[in-house]
């Protein structure tokens, strides 16, 4: 049996480290901190880019909606809900077509001819 007197004879822990471990430790830790710092900066940069793009896209979207609304409603004198056939289609009175005149009737087919595409506006003079 091994007799040990803790108080009288101080015993070392017996642990050891690899050669030059402490010499290289500063370098290892400083490079790890530098790495962490770079990662953090890259994350900030990435987040900034994403936020900027998101904000720009949102602003563009809002601007487009506003422009569309302005274009649709800017001439309020001619705007009348009764003339709206569907959401994309507004009849404007400015085009001078006399469909009231029996001598110069325009068939439904002919009216449709005025619709070039969904965004086009045509008017009928009543």
């Amino acid at each position: 049996m091994i007799m040990i007197d803790l108080e009288k004879n101080k015993i070392n822990s017996g642990f050891n480290v690899p050669n030059n471990y402490f010499d290289n430790l500063d370098k290892t830790i400083l490079s790890k901190i530098q790495h962490q710092y770079n990662d953090k900066n890259n994350n900030i940069l990435q987040r900034t880019i994403i936020y900027t793009i998101s904000i720009a896209a949102s602003l563009l979207f809002i601007f487009n909606i506003t422009s569309y609304n302005n274009a649709s409603y800017k001439n309020n004198d001619y705007y009348d809900e009764d003339y709206i056939l569907n959401d994309d289609f507004i009849i404007d009175e400015s085009i001078n077509i006399d469909i009231a005149n029996n001598d110069n009737k325009i068939s439904n087919f002919e009216i449709e001819e005025f619709i070039l595409n969904d965004d086009d506006i045509y008017t009928i003079n009543q």
């Binding site: 070392n12 822990s13 050891n16 430790l25």
Partner: protein, 180 residues
């Protein structure tokens, strides 16, 4: 230790964070290594915990107000990191059904970075039988020669409780050494 601590504190007050950190690294790397090593036992685990400890020190160096002694603050970070590491290991051991302290004691047998003689090995195994708090107090008192009031600051425990823990730890270690 106090002169170096004062020098580091002055560097921090003057906003020279990097220089202060390099001084801390150079002055405390070995002391903190051994503090951690005696808790987590394995060299590789100690290396990980030590690196995390220094990263924590770097991240929080601006929060050090100088109210407590620098080495107390550093030891506390190292101890907390080591305990957090052990707790994570214990949680894993709980699921695998292993006792972490027995695992650490067995690890000593095959550890290439443990070159202690039979007495040293026996002492380490005896220390590993202790509950964590007693193990911490015994290591700090026996190997680091810290005073009870210094250990009290690091572990945030009263000196009376620490003295009792140390006394019980020594008694248990003696019993282990006599019976094994």
């Amino acid at each position: 230790m106090n002169n170096v601590d004062n020098k580091i504190k002055i560097l921090l007050i003057n906003g020279k964070k990097e220089q202060a950190f390099k001084q801390i690294l150079s002055e405390y790397k070995e002391k903190l290594y051994w503090q951690i090593r005696r808790i987590v036992i394995s060299h590789h685990d100690t290396d990980d915990v030590l690196q995390n400890t220094f990263i924590k020190i770097w991240n929080n160096i601006n929060n050090f107000r100088g109210d407590s002694k620098l080495y107390t603050w550093l030891y506390r970070i190292a101890t907390n990191e080591s305990i957090a590491f052990l707790n994570t290991k214990k949680r894993k051991s709980f699921f695998t059904g292993d006792n972490n302290n027995i695992k650490l004691a067995n690890y000593l047998e095959s550890d290439v970075y443990f070159d202690g003689n039979e007495i040293q090995k026996k002492l380490q195994k005896a220390i590993l039988q202790l509950p964590d708090k007693q193990r911490l107090v015994f290591n700090m008192k026996y190997f680091d020669d810290l005073k009870f009031n210094e250990i009290s600051e690091i572990l945030d425990t009263s000196t009376g409780a620490l003295k009792a823990s140390y006394h019980i730890a020594v008694k248990k270690i003696k019993e282990y050494l006599n019976n094994n």
